[in-house]
């Protein structure tokens, strides 16, 4: 196993995602490991957001990066790597849940899990943001999280979700409006 300082070095690799992908296309396994470290936690947490199960999230993490690995050689990155990984994580999460058989496999169930996670009380902060998020519709919450938690641009969200940019803007506007009116999150807008 690699030591922590090595991990740090890899995470701080100055090369961009594009450059690392070019190196992987040339067979550089270290470059792949740098990318893995860079996106590992984001993928794991996203998978957990979709599955609601830590073990399943770890399975999805591995499946996602194996899927990514099999794209080499010949993979070309045309946008942010998250826009490639997000649909993979989402679909693999649905598949993992189906295999696990713990829940129904349709997407509504997936969204219910996401909602349930959102409503988990944050005892450390005593925050009510989670409760306010649970009040949002699934579409609005997903766009809001992609924008402010996952850090995707509006165009990337449109690409990831396969919806028009105008729809993304509309959903985000409505989500923020709901939170602005919600007494539990109103103070953030004042």
């Amino acid at each position: 196993m690699m030591a922590a300082p090595v991990d740090d070095l890899r995470e701080e690799d100055p090369r961009s995602d594009q450059q690392l992908i070019a190196a992987i296309n040339d067979g550089d396994a270290d470059a792949f490991e740098v990318l893995y470290r860079r996106y590992r936690d984001w993928v794991a947490n996203l998978a957990y957001r979709f599955t609601g199960d830590r073990e399943l999230a770890l399975d999805v993490l591995q499946e996602t990066f194996l899927y990514f690995l099999r794209k080499f050689p010949g993979f070309i990155l045309t946008a942010q790597l998250k826009t490639f990984l997000y649909p993979a994580v989402r679909n693999l999460s649905i598949s993992a849940r189906r295999k696990a058989g713990r829940f129904q496999s349709d997407e509504k169930e997936l969204e219910q899990i996401e909602t349930a996670l959102t409503t988990e009380p944050d005892l450390d902060r005593g925050d009510t943001v989670a409760a306010a998020l649970a009040a949002l519709s699934n579409e609005h919450r997903e766009v809001l999280l992609l924008r402010f938690v996952d850090g995707l641009s509006l165009a990337e969200i449109a690409s990831v979700l396969g919806i028009p940019l105008g729809t993304v803007k509309s959903r985000l506007h409505n989500a923020l409006g709901t939170l602005r009116r919600d007494p539990r999150t109103k103070q953030h807008f004042e």
Binding site: N45, L69, F72, L133, R147, T167, S170, L179, H188
Partner: protein, 245 residues
């Protein structure tokens, strides 16, 4: 319906920093990834990418060169084969129509080429006089007849009516058979005066390759062809004359 409202101003779409912080705190670091998972991924990546590195420089240039050489060889071979008129087979020079045997049809084919002014192969100068003319047609026809005489296989013969046989014996002689005569008339190489004297060309039964006429074995066309039919048609007036008498 609210989703249809246009919102083009991105300022409306900004969240306060405190809200963003709260959201990130809510979803921060929920899953711990054990080192075993990292190890497994690292192993898989190295295995996959090393396999690519091993195969990449080795086979690609070699395979492309080999494929190119194979294509070139195939193209040369095909080109040579297709440009050869015989398609690779060799034929006797008397075999004008290249059907694999020398028979009366070759003589007819050469006669037709001479008459129509078709392309003449210098090899068709059978008698070596420097010209391709009727004499060469005769030579091929004679060759066709003599081949039938000298054939190694068992000859099939068909009985000819006595009248015809007598006529054949009487008239064939050095011309080696009435089929040749009929052929020559057909090709315009003879004026047919022998037929006018009452000669009747013997005709082989359908499907018979050779038959006896005038003491020699004569090749006949296996299937009745246009040429044979034409020769027969020319010979018919003599038969009708005989019947009338």
């Amino acid at each position: 319906m609210s989703e249809l409202n246009p919102h083009t101003e991105d300022e409306d779409l900004q969240a306060p920093n405190s809200l963003v912080e709260a959201l990130n705190h809510l979803y921060k670091e929920r899953v711990f990834v054990p080192p075993a998972v990292d190890d497994a991924m690292s192993r898989e990546a190295r295995k996959h990418l090393q396999r690519l590195q091993r195969t990449k420089p080795g086979w690609k240039p070699w395979l492309s060169w080999a494929a190119m050489a194979a294509c070139l060889t195939l193209a040369i071979w095909l080109g040579e084969r297709l440009t050869r008129p015989s398609g690779g087979k060799s034929f006797a020079r008397e075999d004008i129509n290249r059907d694999g045997r020398v028979d009366i049809l070759d003589a007819f084919a050469l006669a037709r080429k001479i008459e129509t002014g078709g392309i003449l192969d210098p090899r068709w100068d059978m008698n070596g006089d420097g010209r391709i003319d009727r004499a060469d047609v005769n030579a091929i026809a004679a060759r066709a007849v003599s081949l039938a005489q000298a054939g190694p296989g068992p000859k099939r013969s068909v009985s000819i009516p006595a009248r015809s046989r007598d006529a054949g014996e009487e008239n064939v002689g050095s011309e080696k058979g009435p089929v040749l005569l009929a052929f020559r008339i057909c090709c315009g190489l003879d004026n047919g005066d022998r037929l006018d004297r009452g000669d009747e060309p013997p005709v082989a039964a359908p499907g018979i390759r050779s038959f006896e006429a005038g003491g020699v074995s004569v090749l006949a066309n296996p299937e009745p062809s246009v040429e044979t039919e034409r020769a027969r048609t020319l010979a018919e007036p003599a038969e009708r004359k005989r019947n009338r008498s």
